[in-house]
Symmetry: D2
Subunit: 262 residues, 4 copies
């Protein structure tokens, strides 16, 4: 299998995780290790404002091993997101990742479903690409929007499976399949995955990677779930490479039973 490459950087794990919602920093640390992930996303605004559960968070992760993916959670407009992205780059530098220009772009005006704004996201992406960012935009699973973002120079697209934290799984699998089929950049399914089976399903249809936060952090046993998600991500990738059997409406016996012994 070829490794995941984003903006020229190579990763061997195809699972990304987050830092929000964990019961404690210790559980977060252990879960990150158990998942085997190499990329962790951090909400810039929450770290900067020391939102509940975010104090000491940035320092609790070994950024020598984990690649930081700052995100613009909490931004409602393109303008806000661009400003927070710049702060994110500073944060990464302060934490020792001098060459880290990654930004997970979220432009979310809607508080109930946390769905991203396609217009504001494209606008912010165009600006951030100009400023030299490696932009990973969070989007509704719209194949045409994905193409616009790729044309604008984004380094991945991150379609959602279902609303953030909902645990509803992949509810728009056809559109994600089309995005995977058409994109020349990695497709990272982000948001909505609740179980390892859903993680595996996304990988089986050809997604390049996953980002999972709530399903791990809010599981009854986050560390177990983190390990399970890591396994399922690998299993799904391996199955994608292995080539599944076709679905048939009828049964298929193991072999003809021409002889008889009874």
């Amino acid at each position: 299998d070829q490794s995941l490459v984003i903006a020229g950087r190579t990763f061997s794990s195809r699972l990304m995780t987050g830092t929000g919602k964990y019961p404690s920093l210790e559980v977060m640390q252990q879960s990150i290790v158990a998942s085997g992930c190499e990329i962790v996303t951090v909400a810039v605004r929450r770290v900067q404002t020391k939102a509940p559960g975010h104090e000491g968070l940035a320092e609790a992760i070994d950024w020598g091993k984990i690649w930081m993916l700052p995100n613009t959670a909490g931004c409602k407009t393109a303008e806000e997101a661009v400003r927070v992205a710049r702060l994110g780059r500073e944060m990464a530098k302060l934490l020792g990742q001098e060459d880290n220009n990654f930004i997970k772009l979220e432009v979310i005006p809607d508080a109930k479903y946390l769905l991203p704004d396609p217009i504001g996201t494209l606008e912010a992406a165009q600006q951030l690409v100009k400023e030299g960012f490696a932009v990973l935009p969070y989007i509704n699973a719209d194949p045409l929007l994905a193409r616009h973002l790729e044309d604008a120079g984004c380094v991945t697209v991150m379609p959602l499976g279902s609303p953030i934290g909902s645990g509803m799984g992949i509810r728009n699998i056809d559109n994600i399949r089309i995005i995977v089929e058409q994109a020349q950049i990695p497709v990272v399914v982000d948001a909505g995955i609740g179980t390892p089976s859903e993680a595996a399903a996304a990988m089986e249809l050809g997604a390049d990677a996953l980002l999972i936060n709530s399903a791990i952090a809010l599981a009854q046993n986050p560390v177990f779930m983190a390990e399970a998600m890591g396994q399922a991500t690998r299993a799904g990738r391996l199955a994608y490479l292995a080539g599944r059997i076709p679905c048939k409406a009828y049964a298929s016996a193991s072999s003809p039973l021409t002889g008889t012994i009874v």
Copy 2:
């Protein structure tokens, strides 16, 4: 996690595989190893009649490490199945498993969908239990039938997810969930699983084990798929123990954004 115990015998793997449909004995051997399985089912009639692909099959497996699960594939009536079960016990003894009285009971009068006969299956199970077999019956996912079989002394029930070899996945998940909820014996989902995500889904809802043959043997790369199925089975089990997040219709943000930095 507690191990899987069937008829007093302990297994650490929760994935069982088969021997049919592989492109070669070598691929079968490697796939069994890659899957990490400890139980392999063998069609007694096919071995006895040396059906295509079954010559040398029984000898190709290391029965010092793998527990044999003889099956009555190809039997259309209870009577036939009982006779083949007895032959299966002899076969296991000849291959060195003196104390193996396991039998996977299949009574399948229907050639198109290979669906099991509930009446014949119950009748054969009652007879085989009397004769000292540890009976693992293959059944449609009918919770009341499962209860009759448990009452009759079967050591597991093996509800199908969808027709054998169809790769359609788990198409009756509610009934399987009810069987899992009610059974005091292990529930093994058997038939229909096509992908690791489907394997994980069955384990997440509390199935005790899985039996997967076609999806591995007929994958384009059986060895990769075997490994993926083993991983997914473990991931699904781990997730079941970890306790998944609830599904919600709405989104759930990582944390309140009361402060502001922009």
Copy 3:
């Protein structure tokens, strides 16, 4: 379209309804009319014991227009069901349907999911056929059990879509499809349907008729829902006859756009 024929009797409506759970007898009466149904099932035990809501129930329906389908709800064993069936025949006679030997056979030992017992159902069906009943058994969607019941002389099979009153819809559509494909007697989908779309879906796959009670009686507006269910049953049947378009993974434009005007 050919009419529905059960045990030699012809019906033009393919929707059957029930009498339980309505807010009042008046609403029940209006709902039956709005649905356009010609067959109504009545729980013999509930009428005999004057269970809450069942007083005056049998008299509230115009049995000159509606064909009574007595049912054995509340019976846990074959023996009980046979006795209640006999009482049902008497009840039909008393209410003026001298030649009515129909019985909806329910053998339900399980109080939580109200799932039928395949063994007890087959046993009772064999006895009731001997006694001259036209037997319509309520069953789990097991194609092999359906075949046994047809062989035993039943005049329909009535597979459930999901547990009684659950409103979960058709959760085992593949098995129902196989039953429809194989049966020579009418297939009536019974239990679980919650919405007109689910009613239509069952008819589109070739079911001959539907029985719907809770989804009508417990709707906020039972009369509206009864009318909707009647329409949907007809729509689904008409679509079955009309022949649907195939599903495709890709789009299909209305016509080539060779010319150009802009």
Copy 4:
């Protein structure tokens, strides 16, 4: 029930149909009548260029009874769509609908899946609203895009269920539900519906209307299917008003069986 009102114009049918793909003009005419629809969409470019099957098409419909909905099918950019919309307005006038300023806006750069471009669609919509059109844009089911279009002055939004002509049904039901919940203008589900059950399902979740073309025109019997789609649309609307029963994981018996007669 309140009628459907679009741009101040009232319609009693909630099903819209099209003119493409019919085997003949006669079958088209009969199907339109059988469906009971009051709005029919016409591809302006196909009529103007007399594409195969479109000669005489505009004249074959009684525009005294049917409201024309010209569409911009075949337009790949906002600019093209605006020009074709203007031609559509002329066409409606020539055919006697002097006050018809409706336009179904399609901006579709993609030939394989015929998915709409969110950016080009919004741009064209803004221009057409300025020019006094009543704009009904065809969109991917993106709630935030729907809000932008409503803010821009569109008179409906028309989210797709699945790709045009695919017959895959409603494959993104959560997003459509959110659009319905948030929109102040009618939501018309357009594209992908293959069966009456899918039509009813869209109406049950609160869609205001449907547009169905391929599923009728390409059915084996288009006239039957047209009638079925009309019934199902009404059934789904009625069920929405009636208020469905909740889904439960367990069964619910008709009434307590406290008494006993056996």
